[in-house]
């Protein structure tokens, strides 16, 4: 079996002695035209995987920064047809692995099978659906599998070993470990030192999953990466990138700091 491209991007980064870097930006942020320029910059600056947010009106797993950005994109008319159409027209352009992150309902209305086909043919490798726990994932995986599209498992600090194993059993791509009991961006789980709870949770996730484990939610500055060395394989930055752009920065500058 060939290695999944998301798995490979992260292992390649590890082989170079660093963590995989996974920036997140809501599709169409800060505006529809500039968004693609930002994605180009993220790719050129060496993002291993780029996570693109599919905006939803009721994003329960997100904190205020991501929610506000997503609603702004919705107001600007961003939808799945636009995201997938634009990605299809750029197919083959990115070195980074591509992941779409969002909530089930827009995907459901687009049509699970149609979404799987269009996402896959637009060059998307994996999907994160924040409101789909293992129990509800069956029909989604059934639609994604034939297209080689991967549903990325999301686990967290309160995920029991039994549930961790459910996700690990046929987890592909990478596993996303949520570092706080909270929403995106709100609380940073830690500053420079890593609390014992996160350390223990990560160790448990690393033991359960054979695929790489990425840590996300609440990463604010590069010093945090050092504390993660040896404990995870990759790190996701969402709110931090949005804040950086809101403050007048661009993605290239953002990546330089983190790399």
């Amino acid at each position: 079996m060939s290695t999944n491209i998301l798995t490979k991007r992260i292992s390649d980064a590890r082989a170079k002695g660093r963590l995989g870097l996974i920036p997140f930006l809501p599709a169409g942020y800060p505006d529809k035209a500039r968004f693609w320029a930002e994605i180009d910059q993220l790719d050129e600056a060496g993002a291993d995987i780029i996570e693109i947010g599919m905006p939803f009106s009721d994003p329960v797993a997100d904190g205020p920064v991501v929610e506000h950005a997503s609603l702004k994109c919705l107001d600007a008319g961003v939808n799945l047809a636009w995201i997938l159409g634009e990605l299809a027209s750029r197919k083959g352009r990115y070195k980074a692995g591509l992941v779409l992150m969002g909530y089930l309902n827009p995907v459901l209305q687009y049509g699970l099978d149609r979404f799987a086909r269009d996402a896959s043919s637009a060059g998307v490798h994996g999907i994160i659906l924040a409101d789909v726990p293992f129990e509800e994932s069956g029909p989604i995986r059934t639609a994604f599998d034939p297209q080689g599209l991967v549903l990325i498992p999301l686990v967290g600090l309160n995920t029991t070993p039994v549930r961790m194993d459910l996700y690990a059993k046929d987890g592909r791509g990478f596993a996303y470990f949520v570092s706080v009991l909270g929403t995106t961006g709100v609380q940073s789980g830690f500053d420079t030192g890593l609390p014992a709870t996160i350390r223990a949770g990560l160790a448990q996730a690393k033991a359960a999953f054979s695929i790489p484990v990425a840590l996300g939610f609440g990463l604010k500055h590069p010093d945090q990466l050092k504390a993660l060395d040896g404990l995870v394989d990759a790190a996701v930055f969402g709110s931090a990138l949005i804040r950086h752009i809101d403050a007048g920065g661009d993605s290239k500058g953002f990546m330089q700091v983190w790399k």
């Binding site: 089930l104 459901l108 129990e135 549930r163």
Partner: protein
């Protein structure tokens, strides 16, 4: 049937971080709720604190005018002024058994917030209520009531700043505080096990009403009619009658102004389609692209773009019918019941009543019609006065 589903509807569409507290709650519901100790305590609370059983009142004057026998199941007489307390007392009791110390809840109009806050006060629990910032402005009386009961009221500034956003905020807060906190969900909706739990706690409405009808009318009703926001008073009013095939079950949604293009709150009877929101697969008011649309009703407690999954299933199976009436019909019913029977219904309940006033002429004469009077109307006086002033 898949666990947590009613036909094709229901489920647990939540972030993994919420699965542990939902599984804990499900386990508690299955283990603690049926126990004799819990049921005895609940029965005692319902009797001595809530004031149950609530009356089943025959309406002689309107019955004469309408040609059908109109009965009201008087949830307006329950403590707090609405059926909401049946649910909050049960969940507060369960929270104590779980060893948790705090309740959090969403509220739209503030009725569920008030019912949660008074239950928290009674059981010595802390209480935080999430309420859309717009609703905080519109329902200031209920905000003051909640605060008097010792609750903290958090205005939610995100999204449409109404009930759906308050639910989002409460779910987010629950992720962070799950160890010490129970989310006291306010209606028979949301992720499993809430639709089941809330229905079990509200079923007391139809348990009593069925016995009362047999006692007072000597027969089962021909119709049971209830308003549907999230669907808790309706599912409570329907549940015991579901096996009685002769009893027609009618859920009345809020059609809003009725003007083309205006928002409404009727995903079952007007323009809904299946989708996923707030942890459940159900009928929703949404765009073709799956974005949830704002809702509207003059009755703040009906102002919600979704509906509990068991109602979606009853509609699909045909066991219950779902209809809607406009703001005007509800307002007229509010005034009509007040003048003719000396009972002031909540604007929510006025939708159920309004449907009966409008449709009694099409019923078999002499039919027995039970309306679930889910709450009392004092909270709505400002809205109704504005309407009457506009009409004069």
């Amino acid at each position: 049937m898949k666990k947590g589903y009613f036909g094709a509807f229901g489920g647990q569409f939540v972030p993994e971080l919420l699965m542990p507290p939902l599984l804990e709650l499900e386990e508690a519901m299955e283990r603690i709720l049926p126990s004799k100790e819990f049921q005895d305590e609940l029965a005692s609370e319902l009797r001595h604190f809530v004031g149950r059983p609530t009356a089943l009142t025959f309406c002689p004057n309107l019955s004469r005018d309408l040609g059908v026998k109109l009965w009201l199941k008087r949830e307006d007489l329950a403590h707090g002024g609405a059926h909401k307390v049946n649910n909050t007392i049960g969940q507060a009791l369960l929270t104590k058994k779980l060893g948790k110390t705090k309740l959090l809840a969403e509220t739209g109009a503030g009725q569920h917030g008030v019912a949660t806050a008074l239950a928290a006060a009674r059981f010595g629990l802390q209480c935080v209520i999430y309420m859309g910032a717009l609703d905080v402005e519109r329902q200031s009386l209920n905000v003051r009531r909640m605060k008097l009961f010792g609750a903290e009221v958090v205005p939610v500034e995100s999204g449409t700043k109404t009930l759906k956003d308050a639910i989002n905020a409460a779910l987010r807060a629950w992720i962070a505080e799950q160890e010490t906190t129970h989310y006291c969900f306010g209606t028979a909706a949301g992720p499993h096990p809430f639709p089941l739990l809330v229905r079990e706690l509200q079923a007391v409405i139809s348990r009593e009403a069925r016995i009362q009808m047999l006692d007072q009318a000597g027969k089962l009703p021909d119709y049971v009619v209830a308003c549907v926001g999230g669907g808790s008073n309706a599912i409570g009013a329907f549940h015991e009658f579901v096996p009685d095939a002769s009893v027609k079950l009618i859920g009345v949604e809020a059609a809003g102004s009725g003007k083309p293009g205006d928002w409404h709150s009727a995903p079952l009877s007007l323009a809904g389609s299946p989708g996923v929101l707030h942890g459940m697969h159900t009928q929703l008011i949404q765009t073709p692209e799956g974005q949830i649309l704002p809702s509207h009703s003059i009755a703040p407690g009906l102002d919600y773009p979704g509906v509990g999954p068991e109602h979606a299933a009853y509609q699909a199976s045909g066991r219950a019918q779902y209809v809607s009436v406009t703001d005007d019909v509800a307002l007229d019913a509010f005034v009509t019941l007040s003048r003719n029977e000396g009972i002031m219904p909540a604007l929510e309940s006025s939708h159920a009543l309004g449907w009966v006033l409008k449709n009694a002429k099409d019923m078999q004469p002499g039919s027995d019609v039970v309306v679930c009077l889910s709450g009392r109307g004092d909270k709505d006086l400002d809205i109704v006065n504005d309407y009457l002033a506009g009409k004069a």
